[in-house]
Point group: C2
Chain length 334, copies 2
């Protein structure tokens, strides 16, 4: 018999654990973005979260949920860089060691910030090495508990607090959201946000936004079973290249009003340039895909109330400069 | 007999006018910034304000306060670029024409965004032309009401809503602020914020932060009379080069617990790189000086509760790239 799926009570418990540690990120508005899209857009700025992405929520909730004796042996994570920082910072706060397996080509900022939280970072070659094998070797040598980036009920419950907060703020504004759009890699954020939102807004749809070429979630939802991407590199969205949907989140997403759309590299870059120029927020490519789906019309939002999650802001300066240069002539005004 | 100075009731009236038009910007926290400074820091992110700076508040309040018949003839402003956008956007919302006199070397983003709000932009040479003379010529030719960037009671009342919001949020957090630090050019923001804060926290000090070489406010406060800067160009803080304190704000600041400190170009750039890397906020040089004063210790904050205003985020990408390159090796951790 399988474990029960994480529900709204798990998310509420996660919120209680996170209080005082995570940032209660603001739900922002931009009259210019509303004018450009023809929608009422509510922007959940998770780039302002501790460690620069929503991943701190799930990482902290997972570490906090461990039995103290087990936690004391340390934690291990495999991550492209945001879950890395979340788990490393959570481990630091609990005073336990962390070892993080990261691709050698992760953004410099992500590597540096993970080390800053006190983690031992073990790098691997994304194209040539199997990260699961690298992680297994680390576990065998060092021990510790593996905190999975998305296929873990306590991680999903932590990410769900994003939805809980959006729902509370939207309700306080007297609005009813038609859809919430979130960046999607393994699907943990989307699954948690869906549960968190629907406790208040039963009919709110969830749109998962993937990078083009990494549309495993869209294909999996269509076929009703978990399918994998053929590639593990090649998107500018370094945070969104999970091989396939996690089974826990997939069960939640499949059972609800969830769909998936994809955006390409140029669209992600243009969206992060928009975030820089118009929203004054620093957003990384993977963190900008929901905004990209909105700006490009791949997510049909005209006349609707739409919440979008800007999920992370850990971008290196040179990539931002490239995005600003390439996006200089993009005209969004409809 | 001179007009009474703007007070807390004027600020509350401004807040009522601004409701639904201005962004109620968040008061953010960063555990990393707290660790670096040894202070409890509360970050008022006015870079997230409509038009990208706090200036929309004062501009809108001033335009809204005009007699409708007078307003219909249009408004004029002289501005380095943020007041420009604030007044232009306010005029657009009221459906009246605006003419803005701006230095030709203003950041490209500021010029473009002012025009985008429908303003007619008249440029002048900052080093060779007298901007007051240019403005007088524009007024003579086109008519309209001049909205002064800082020496105007309704503008100061509008900026004061920043202080009102900080005070409300700090109170809700159960904290008592020792000092609020704000960027300073003509002194309107500091004066308004001081009045807005002290209505709730009577003993809260105000620290005005100026660019080095443009310390007219510090010298004026010291001598108890309005003194001017000798230069009108030469700081990277393009928004903070007013010639001398405005008399209305100066009267308010002189009568209260207000002091002024200065930061140099390199410190402003390092602070905006910090805002990019750690806070994930886009801040322009002039908008980052209060953060710079905190990070450098020019504002002594250890053990204190300090609110800082990040007043604007209208920076061009190439300058940000320079700040990130120069600030790459700055170590802030104490």
């Amino acid at each position: 018999m399988s474990k029960p799926l994480p529900g709204i009570d798990d998310i509420r418990n996660a919120a209680a654990r996170l209080a005082g540690h995570a940032v209660r990120t603001p739900l922002l508005t931009s009259s210019y973005l509303d004018a450009v899209t023809g929608a009422r857009v509510l922007i959940k700025a998770e780039c302002l979260q501790r460690t620069g992405s929503f991943k701190f929520r799930g990482g902290y909730n997972a570490v906090a949920s461990l039995d103290p004796e087990i936690r004391a042996r340390g934690v291990v994570a495999v991550s492209s860089g945001n879950h890395a920082q979340g788990v490393a910072e959570a481990a630091r706060l609990f005073g336990v060691p962390s070892t993080i397996v990261m691709p050698a080509d992760a953004p410099a900022a992500k590597l540096a910030r993970t080390r800053r939280s006190g983690a031992t970072v073990v790098t691997y070659d994304r194209a040539r090495e199997d990260r699961e094998a690298v992680a297994a070797k680390v576990m065998a040598e060092r021990g510790g508990v593996l905190i999975h980036p998305y296929n873990d009920a306590s991680v999903i419950a932590g990410q769900g607090t994003v939805g809980l907060e959006i729902a509370a703020d939207v309700e306080a504004m007297g609005l009813v959201p038609d859809v919430v759009a979130v960046p999607c890699s393994g699907g943990g954020l989307g699954a948690g946000v869906g549960v968190g939102m629907r406790a208040t807004f039963r009919d709110c749809a969830v749109a998962l936004v993937e990078p083009e070429g990494f549309d495993d979630y869209a294909r999996s939802l269509r076929e009703g079973r978990i399918l994998a991407n053929s590639s593990q590199s090649g998107s500018i969205c370094d945070a969104l290249m999970a091989v396939s949907p996690g089974s826990i989140g997939f069960a939640l997403n499949l059972a609800s009003n969830t769909r998936a759309v994809a955006v390409n590299d140029a669209e992600a870059l243009a969206a992060l340039a928009f975030a820089f120029n118009e929203l004054k927020l620093v957003v990384e490519p993977g963190g900008a895909v929901a905004l990209a789906a909105l700006l490009t019309g791949r997510l049909d939002a005209r006349g609707k109330t739409v919440a979008i999650v800007l999920s992370g802001g850990n971008i290196d300066g040179d990539l931002l400069a490239r995005a600003l240069a390439e996006g200089r002539d993009t005209q969004w005004r409809n």
